[in-house]
């Protein structure tokens, strides 16, 4: 037997309750961000679904790796070794320059933080709302990810983390319409803000006056002024500038350096959190290099004082 009349409160009453609940949730989610813990808890509910979607990818990846021929692996290994060697060689120079930079800045009494702690995360292959530029990564609260954390790939800044769950987090990309990132022109230090345009390969710089010194091909790097992104990471390259004399501001368009829609591995950065293990790899060489550099500026400072 089937009941003709449903039991409990009427459907209209339920609808009213549900709608008020939704509106309350939306308001709190949008205005005050009070729902982070609720979102984190609920994200556990959808974690199995995300894993299920990820499964074919995981399986095919596993097959690709385990069925790859010995020769293929050896070739890949050799290629990676060469690349590693080249990167190491570049890094040697960089480390010396970094130490020198810190020392010079100490002389100028300005602080500069380099050598952030970095963690590699992977994207989950789930499609989110198609009209928002967001990604899900496979690291969460358990890896000490926090909301607002900068996200990079091998070529530049990708975005920042917005929601953190226990095992996964959601990040918004720099091209999302709700995103803005403080940048500076690498060539001359001109500071401005790059806004997301909603198109994956396009950033807009609407706050540059017509006469500002910016050209197509200029590299934009993070200025570190917002306090959220560490300074000095590449963000975008200027592609087009339109200077309309009738308008106050130039219309500048840039293309993000990061492969926003292609990267699978992303880097999470803890700004200002010194990673002790990496610089300590060759401590003696660094200290010696630092000591060598130290002598020169002190002498120079001494002569300056003497001349005054």
């Amino acid at each position: 037997m089937k009941l003709i009349f449903a039991q409990g409160p009427s459907i209209t009453a339920r609808l009213i309750v549900c709608m008020s609940l939704s509106i309350a949730l939306m308001t709190m989610d949008h205005r005050q961000n009070h729902l982070e813990s609720l979102r984190a808890g609920l994200s556990l509910l959808v974690y199995p679904i995300q894993m299920a979607v990820e499964l074919p990818d995981t399986v095919s990846g596993w097959f690709r790796e385990s069925l790859a021929s010995r020769r293929q692996l050896q070739e890949e290994n050799a290629g990676l070794r060469t690349q590693l060697l080249m990167l190491k060689a570049q890094r040697q120079k960089l480390e010396a320059l970094e130490i020198e930079n810190i020392r010079l800045r100490e002389l100028l009494d300005s602080s500069f933080e380099v050598g952030e702690k970095i963690l590699v995360a992977e994207l989950l292959s789930v499609n989110l709302d198609p009209y928002k530029h967001q990604i899900v990564i496979n690291k969460g609260d358990l890896d000490r990810i926090y909301p607002g954390q900068p996200l990079l790939d091998a070529d530049g800044v990708m975005g920042q983390v917005v929601h953190v769950g226990p095992y996964t987090s959601t990040a918004v990309l720099i091209t999302d319409t709700s995103h803005a990132i403080p940048v500076q022109v690498n060539r001359n230090g001109l500071r401005t803000i790059a806004l997301g345009s909603g198109t994956i390969n396009r950033l807009e710089l609407p706050y540059l006056p017509n006469n500002s010194d910016i050209r197509a091909g200029d590299l934009l790097i993070t200025s570190g002024l917002g306090g959220r992104f560490p300074q000095g990471y590449p963000v975008a390259r200027v592609t087009a500038i339109q200077q309309d004399p009738g308008k106050t501001f130039a219309q500048v368009v840039a293309t993000p350096m990061a492969k926003l829609d292609r990267s699978r591995e992303v880097l999470l950065v803890w700004p200002g959190d010194f990673d002790i293990t990496v610089p300590a790899a060759t401590p003696t060489a660094n200290q010696q290099a630092g000591a060598d550099i130290q002598i020169v500026p002190e002498d120079a400072a001494g002569t300056d004082e003497a001349s005054e």
């Binding site: 039991q7 339920r14 609940l21 949730l25 939306m26 979102r39 509910l45 989110l128 709302d129 928002k132």
Partner: protein, 162 residues
């Protein structure tokens, strides 16, 4: 007295989970033009078939899961799907009598309603309006209604969900 008759909750939950999975399964760029509102379709089917079991509350909760999965504002799809479930329940006796192709037209209206409510919320929080192809998923959803209806009905009968 009710517990004995209720049968096949597992099947209902399974169809909703499948719909949620299809909502986020990765597709290329054309995915956003083609991908129908799977959750909406499944919800409407169960509201028509078992109006005393699946309704506004179920719609709201699945909508909340959609919000979590797709990273929208918490409550956006929840509200829209609750309204869709409510409208379906209000007219379920009438809709059930229609032939399938005629049902598809009503499904189109319901799916557009879901998208419209969702769009209102996104516009309200100040995001830019989408292009015309924002609406095409509803069309594909309505076109898919006959096969989905057949599949879910055979599942319901096969597993005697009532």
């Amino acid at each position: 007295m009710i517990t004995g008759r209720r049968h096949g909750s597992g099947i209902i939950i399974f169809t909703f989970l499948a719909a949620l999975t299809l909502t986020v399964v990765p597709l290329p760029e054309w995915g956003r033009i083609v991908r129908p509102d799977w959750v909406g379709l499944v919800l409407i089917y169960w509201c028509l078939a078992l109006p005393d079991r699946v309704g506004v509350t179920t719609g709201w909760f699945t909508g909340l899961l959609v919000d979590l999965l797709t990273g929208t504002l918490l409550g956006q799809h929840a509200m829209a799907l609750a309204v869709v479930a409510w409208v379906t329940l209000k007219f379920h006796q009438r809709i059930r009598l229609f032939p399938v192709w005629q049902q598809a037209l009503i499904i189109l209206v319901l799916l557009v309603l879901h998208q419209l409510l969702s769009l209102w919320v996104t516009r309200f929080i100040g995001r830019p309006g989408p292009a015309w192809y924002y609406w095409t998923p509803s069309l594909f959803g309505a076109l898919l209604w006959p096969p989905i209806y057949m599949i879910l009905r055979s599942m319901r009968r096969g597993f005697s969900v009532n």
